[in-house]
Structures are given as C-alpha cells and as structure tokens.
Symmetry: C2
Subunit: 243 residues, 2 copies
C-alpha cells in the first residue's frame, strides 16, 4: 500500500513553500488537488501524474487520493495555504475512518494569516481569531456570533473567504456586525493574491473596509484596540504596557 | 544603509523553514536573535556574524538589529515560528518609527498553530482563536475574557505559552475557565517540541488537560463542539453539515 501526504503549499509561489513540502512533492508519484492549486505546482514537478477535481468536489478529491494510495501509489494532495487550516487534512482523516489505512501524514504550510500579515506589517502580534465568512458549510448566525465575540474580547480578527461571486456583500455584512462594537477608525488591512502575480495590499479603516469590494483572492485583517499604522504598516503591539 | 529582514524560521528544523527564509539567512551578513533561536540556525549558516540577547530583552534585540542595518549591514533577525504572530516584526516597526528607515521586510514562517495542528491531526479545519497565556505583557483578566469569548462562540482554541517556570499553573487556570462553558470530554491535544529533538504529541480530554503539566515547549489545542478523535487523530470537521 502507498501513502498519502497532505501538503500545505503556502500562498502559491515556490519561495513560500517549506523545504519539507517541496521534498514531498519531489518524492511522490501522484499529485492530487483542486485544479487551480495543481496549476501552481505543475511546472516545477513536471514528471508527476496529476489528478484534479473542480471546486466544491472536496470529498471526491480526498476519496480519489486515498484510493490511489490504496492502489500502491505515493500520493501528495496539495492544499493552498496550510494543509489543515480550512484545508483538506481533516476531511482526509474523516473519510479514511478508523482503519488507519493508508498511512496519512500532514505537512503544514503558511496559512494566509501568516503570509498576509507579513505583507501588511505585523497585525497579529497579539491574540487573534480566524473566521471564514463562507456560509457554504456553516450557518451565518454562527459566523455572526463569532465575529461579535471576537470584537467584544478585543481580539484581532482575520477574515478568510471574505467574498465570492455568490456572496459579494458578505464583507460588508461582517463589517456592520463588527461596527456594533468597534470604532469606525479601527485600522484594518487587505492582502490580495499573496505570493502570486498581482500581489497587493491596502491599509484602511473599518469604515472604509465596509465599502471595499473584496473578492475570493483577499484575506482581511481587523486590528485590536492597540493596533496602529506606523510608516504605512499595520502594527499591533505585543502587549498593553510600553515597549 | 543596509536592510533588516525579520525572518520566521518555523518550529526550528530546516525542513520546516520556507525556501524564502532559507535564502534570506544565506544572503544576509548578520543574524540577530534570542540565543536559543540563533543556536537553531548557527550550524547551517556558519559564515555569518551572530548577535544575541537573552530572553525578555526583546527591545534591545530589535534596536541592535536596526542599528546594524543603519551601519550598512544586511541583517536577518530570526524568530521562532512566525515573524509576526507573537514575533518581533511588530516591535521592529514600533522602534523604527515613522522614519521608514532602514528598509524592513517581514518573511513569514510556520507558526505553532499550523505546525502543531499538523502533528496532532487536523484540529483547525474550522474557525479558531489563538490566545497566549503569558501575562507578562497582558493583564490576566483580558486573557480570561478572551478564553470565555472563544468558548462561548464555539471557536477551537490554540493556547501559546501555556506555562513557564514562573507560572506553572496557568494551563490549569485556563482549563477551569473553559470548563465553565465546555464539557469535560471535549477533545484536546498538546504538541511539544515541534520539529525538534524529542518531538511529541498527546491527545486528551479537556478534563485531562487541566491536570497536564505543560512547559514552555508545549502548544495546546482545544477542539470545538464538532471536534472528534478519529484513529488517534484530533479532527475538526470543515463544517456543520455532513461530509
């Protein structure tokens, strides 16, 4: 029996991959993933067998990867960002079940909370919450409750999946919820297409963020009560005493 | 004038560094950091100048790094885990101030939320909060409020700095706060010395975690209401519907 390695490739460029992720992709026989992510790595590992599924077919993709490993192949499943944080590792373990076969290992990668924060300055130097605005698998009421709790506890907040074609106004709705607790001038930031062509960043207020037209390539950062803008960088101090 | 690059080296081993972090350390002239972290990289980059300060002397370390860059050196400041998440990037920007000089860039690295989760299974497939239990720079009341908010909003929780010599009982105190909201059998995990010699992991319940003797090498994971143990792995499903 082969083995399945779930690989977080980071934001998408080779530079932001770990040495270990690169090694796993070099050593495997088959690379499985969502079409867009497979395209990010295809050129660098040209001698592999590639298997892809479209977006929203995550379970099919995991079952395909497990099946290839059971047939004797060494399989790497690529995930954008981290392999675990909103990644496929959990679903792979769920679908593998209690048998413990085939052998599965998880290689972490840079999630957008790390890579986007570095692009914007240092907004996550202190405690924070990570919340996805996608309600495809989570009731919106739960998302709303989490945003409110984070704001009331003075956590910085990272918003994943702030918008898509089907829900263009979710970032506005999230900002309106946060603005019940947080001031309009709270420093915020948007990192877009991190590590890919057209990478960009914007530092703005929460009020400005409400009207920002995010898309699926954006990761959004909302500062805590101490966050400020220093020489254009979004910076959250380490603590609540002086440097 | 030289430049300062703040480099997240990940958990500590070369394998978990990014290609970009490795390149920055190869290309710099001076490596600055906390003694323990500098030791993690000294062997691989032997021809560098090394400057270290002890723990708790973070501001001195940042000022030293900025000064070396102002003197014309290309400086890399190493941080364990990510350069931003509880790292030095924020303090560097604070101490550099509004001048914008010297040039500073931030290279992200794998934070323990990513690397520890991968070791334990996939506990962070859904929304989560990251909270440090160190009250050196944060009032305990604020930490307590954040733990309660995270538990009430059904966020998975990652606890950084769960204990140290000076505060051996903080993890117990944190568990007692969480147990006001969460059940005793909530699945949890501890990742210790991730990517270093003696790396280990433990999956246990929240009640068991309360009596666990954590140290400064541990990162602690508390699942959400959906988290379960599958074939020994700590797994949080992606959503609240069926696979």
């Amino acid at each position: 029996m082969g083995k399945l390695t779930v690989v977080g490739i980071g934001p998408g460029d080779y530079e932001n991959m770990t040495v270990r992720a690169d090694r796993a992709l070099r050593e495997c026989q088959v690379i499985v993933g969502y079409q867009v992510y497979v395209e990010l790595v295809r050129e660098r590992y040209p001698d592999k067998e590639f298997l892809t599924t479209p977006m929203t077919r995550e379970a099919d993709r995991c079952l395909m990867a497990l099946e290839e490993a059971r047939k004797g192949k060494d399989v790497a499943m690529v995930c954008s960002g981290d392999s675990g944080i909103y990644g496929m590792a959990g679903l792979v373990y769920q679908l593998r079940g209690e048998s413990g076969e085939p052998d599965v290992s998880v290689i972490p990668g840079l999630t957008a909370a790390c890579s986007g924060a570095a692009l914007l300055g240092a907004p996550l130097t202190h405690d924070f919450a990570v919340v996805s605005l996608s309600d495809r698998l989570t009731p919106w009421e739960k998302i709303e409750k989490r945003l409110t709790a984070a704001a009331e506890a003075d956590l910085s907040v990272v918003l994943y999946n702030p918008a898509s074609h089907g829900r263009p106004d979710y970032l506005r709705r999230a900002c309106e919820i946060l603005l019940r607790t947080l001031p309009e001038d709270r420093p915020c930031g948007v990192a877009r297409s991190i590590g890919r062509e057209g990478e960009s960043r914007m530092v703005l207020t929460l009020d400005g963020l409400k009207d920002f037209e995010a898309d699926m390539f954006c990761t959004v950062f909302v500062g805590n009560s101490q966050t400020r803008i220093i020489a254009g960088e979004l910076v959250t101090p380490r603590g609540y005493r002086n440097v």
